[in-house]
């Protein structure tokens, strides 16, 4: 095991981690930054975001409308102070990206173009065709190369946070190329490791999105908030779960069921709009939770289409025309062609919902600070209170810029206030964790990794999907607990050091199970239906009297997973009914 010491350690090289690094490099150029990432930064899951990033840009739009849309979209579980901060800073961040070179799609006059998105009352989503996440990620990564003080640790797999005297002061990581264990010490740590979508079988996520950072925080005693809210994206390719952007509907795409009906009008999202004349917050431009729920009902009623890859509905873009599709939606045209053999200018794309995004995560303040001094978090790993019970599409790319920057600046300020991390006690702690990692190399056991992983993703799809009920969730939680026990007895045959991906897969599986059990604990206890958490048992309505609050799950070594509730911050917009379609204001 080797030891290194830096001023600030950033875990995760996606959008949030890179934005944090750039913020530190600009506000505190004398601080040394170590950017540790499980994959090369440009491979991070930000790359897969397609449709765009929200920020008020037009004269006929307003910050207040973005604020209200976000809070209604989140079914009033958003912390309104965080939402206010977000809408005030999102546009500035998108403008900053422009000046770093992001190739935003432009209006004829040269201004950045904006498009419609679900649940948004006005076009305010900035985009770079349908590769917005890719361009944002590469712009941030290439800009980061300007700063010699950002020293990358590419392909480092983080295992455990190091906590000493009540402060987070580093991490134990595996340098995957050599297999060497590295104690990385720092005055402040920024967690930007992304979400946990891979705990579901049907998901849109990259293979790396395994909840590692959430689980590390949990094991370090930090609470995970609102994990029961898992966003199902309504339009993904059946079988693979590959994402077909919401921008396809923002541009005017239609959803029809197996019988050819625009079925969303049957779910409170109508009246039906004319093809080519999409209306905000109506029909295909409803929020993601409502659209995914509508699919579920159509499937129950036998009105979905039967495809080789299972049940689906049809996303029809034909009326948009080939040249518009090529200009605005080139990636999804390519994905449809490569994965399902459909040319969207001549045929409809089969789509179904899949798990997409964790609204919850490590509880943070607006600054990015967590309950553990020295630990900051931003992006999908975090829960800053922006998304509530259901995120609006295109808020998350803007989120990782606004709150990634905040976390970087807060970490820099913190690093200035504290002394150097003491090597001896942190090294001892890291050594204990290293022994546990070494014990996985060529470990004898009775369980196969694949079986436990299949058990996990199957339980999550079945018990914690679009609709849930108490009895099945109870079974699910029991099954997950048993799977976690089985995961202690994995047989790991690989005895090598370089790129030992069996050990990292075992660590990812352990993290996924811990996040899943936390999620299940909160979901079972939330006896109401709100946003993406919908129940079919006795709790089918929103219950503001009991549950206008955040769940918070902690893990305590002696007593296991502990659930508490925390108040929601409401500053100026009291809970009301969510209205879409003809009822929308």
């Amino acid at each position: 095991m080797r030891t290194e010491r830096h001023d600030i350690l950033i875990l995760g090289g996606g959008g949030a981690g890179l934005r944090a690094a750039l913020a530190i490099a600009e506000c505190a150029p004398d601080l040394s930054i170590r950017l540790a990432s499980k994959v090369y930064p440009m491979r991070s899951h930000t790359v897969a975001a397609e449709g765009g990033a929200a920020g008020v840009a037009r004269q006929d739009d307003s910050l207040d409308l973005h604020f209200r849309d976000t809070i209604a979209g989140g079914d009033w579980l958003c912390d309104q102070d965080a939402v206010q901060h977000f809408v005030e800073h999102a546009t500035g961040e998108l403008a900053q990206l422009e000046r770093w070179g992001c190739p935003w799609t432009r209006d004829p006059n040269g201004a950045a173009a904006v498009r419609r998105f679900g649940g948004m009352s006005s076009p305010r989503t900035w985009f770079a065709a349908d590769k917005t996440g890719f361009h944002i990620l590469h712009t941030l990564f290439q800009t980061s190369l300007r700063f010699p003080q950002i020293v990358r640790a590419d392909e480092f797999f983080c295992v455990e946070l190091l906590v000493h005297e009540g402060r987070c002061q580093g991490v134990l990581a595996i340098e995957q190329r050599t297999g060497e264990l590295v104690a990385m010490l720092a005055r402040a740590v920024v967690l930007a490791t992304g979400g946990a979508g891979r705990i579901y079988r049907h998901n849109t996520n990259s293979g790396i999105v395994t909840g590692d950072g959430m689980a590390m925080a949990l094991r370090a005693g930090v609470g995970l908030r609102d994990l029961e809210f898992v966003q199902y994206h309504p339009t993904t390719l059946p079988g693979s779960g590959v994402l077909i952007t919401e921008a396809a509907r923002g541009e005017g795409g239609l959803l029809v069921n197996g019988e050819g009906r625009r079925y969303l009008q049957d779910y409170g999202l109508g009246p039906e709009t004319s093809p080519g004349a999409p209306r905000p917050k109506t029909m295909e431009l409803g929020p993601r939770d409502r659209l995914s729920q509508a699919f579920w009902h159509e499937q129950q009623a036998g009105r979905t289409a039967i495809t080789e890859q299972g049940p689906a509905v049809w996303l029809d873009l034909r009326h948009l025309g080939r040249s518009h599709l090529d200009a605005r939606l080139p990636l999804i045209c390519e994905l449809a062609r490569v994965h399902v053999g459909v040319d969207p200018s001549t045929g409809a794309i089969p789509v179904r919902p899949a798990a997409h995004y964790s609204m919850g995560g490590v509880a943070t303040r607006i600054s990015g600070a967590t309950s553990l001094p020295g630990l900051f978090a931003a992006g999908e790993v975090a829960s800053v209170g922006l998304h509530g019970a259901n995120r609006l599409g295109s808020n998350s790319l803007a989120e990782l810029l606004v709150f990634g920057g905040n976390a970087g600046r807060a970490a820099a300020a913190f690093a200035r206030e504290v002394g150097e991390p003491p090597i001896h006690p942190l090294r001892e702690q890291a050594r204990d964790h290293a022994v546990a990692v070494e014990a996985l190399r060529g470990k004898a056991g009775t369980e196969r990794l694949v079986d436990v992983r299949q058990g996990l993703v199957g339980e999550m799809d079945e018990a914690f999907g679009i609709y849930r009920d108490g009895q099945r969730m109870r079974q699910g939680l029991d099954a997950l607990t048993e799977l976690a026990e089985r995961a202690e007895h994995l047989a790991l045959e690989d005895t090598t050091r370089m790129y030992n991906t069996q050990i990292t897969a075992a660590l990812e599986l352990r993290a996924g199970l811990q996040v899943a059990i936390s999620l299940a604990t909160a979901a079972l206890a939330r006896e109401e239906s709100r946003g993406a958490h919908q129940r079919l048992d006795a709790f089918q309505s929103r219950d503001d009297g009991r549950f206008l609050c955040h769940s918070l799950v902690r893990y305590l070594p002696d007593s296991g997973y502990q659930l508490t509730w925390e108040p929601v911050t409401i500053t100026r917009y009291m809970p009301a009914e969510r209205r879409y379609g003809g009822e929308a204001s």
Binding site: V39, Y40, A48, A95, R99, P108, G110, L145, L243
Partner: protein, 248 residues
Amino acid sequence: MRSRRVLVIQRYLAERDTSPHLQTFALPEDLDGSLLDALQYIKDHLDPTLAWRWSCRMGMCGSCGMMLDGEPVLACEVFLRDLPTGPSRVEPLAHLPVERDLIVDQAGFLEALASVRPWLVEKAGRETGPAGEGRQSPSEVADFLGLSQCINCLLCYAACPQVALTPGFLGPAAVAVAHRYDLDSRDVGDGGRAPALQADVGVWSCTVVGECSTVCPKSVDPAAAIQQQKVRGLTDWMRGLLGFGGPA
């Protein structure tokens, strides 16, 4: 009737092996999906030590480049149903040092990328909108948009004979990314990029084979970028020779 699919995969572990060897895996008849799915099946059921890179499954992250029957491909974009009958050979990307199995050393590419200073050096006095964002016309965007599609997958390095012959050659992708910024109307950083691009191991090592553009999964045209950079270099050299001043 479907036949049993057979993959012959190159295995190598730098910490143990002196040379690579081939290993044959038979896949079940009903296995569907992409080459990535097949590799995962092998790891789950046949040999847990197989190692490769992958992540997004949708041709955007650039992780899963490898050789299939001698051609560089993204494994997520190759489907088992489209493979010819008979065994298919899977090897790590050509021309790059192998670390383990299908994993190659990418550190050289990262160094080449950083050396061309691939970031925007913003022109002074741009017209800006209300939030401070600059304007750029759609046709100005179109000038560099194609080159900005590079996902850094390194398929072009595996296709380029000069990568194998010329140690330190920048390679197609690094030049494409650099040229993307040179072509950006917002940028004035050309002079900073020129030394790396015009060095012996820069664009002048290219012998115009053009395979880089042929294999690119994102239709980027690094070959054209390299030739345009050669013209720039020659123009600057001529101007210097004729006393019109050196490169900006």
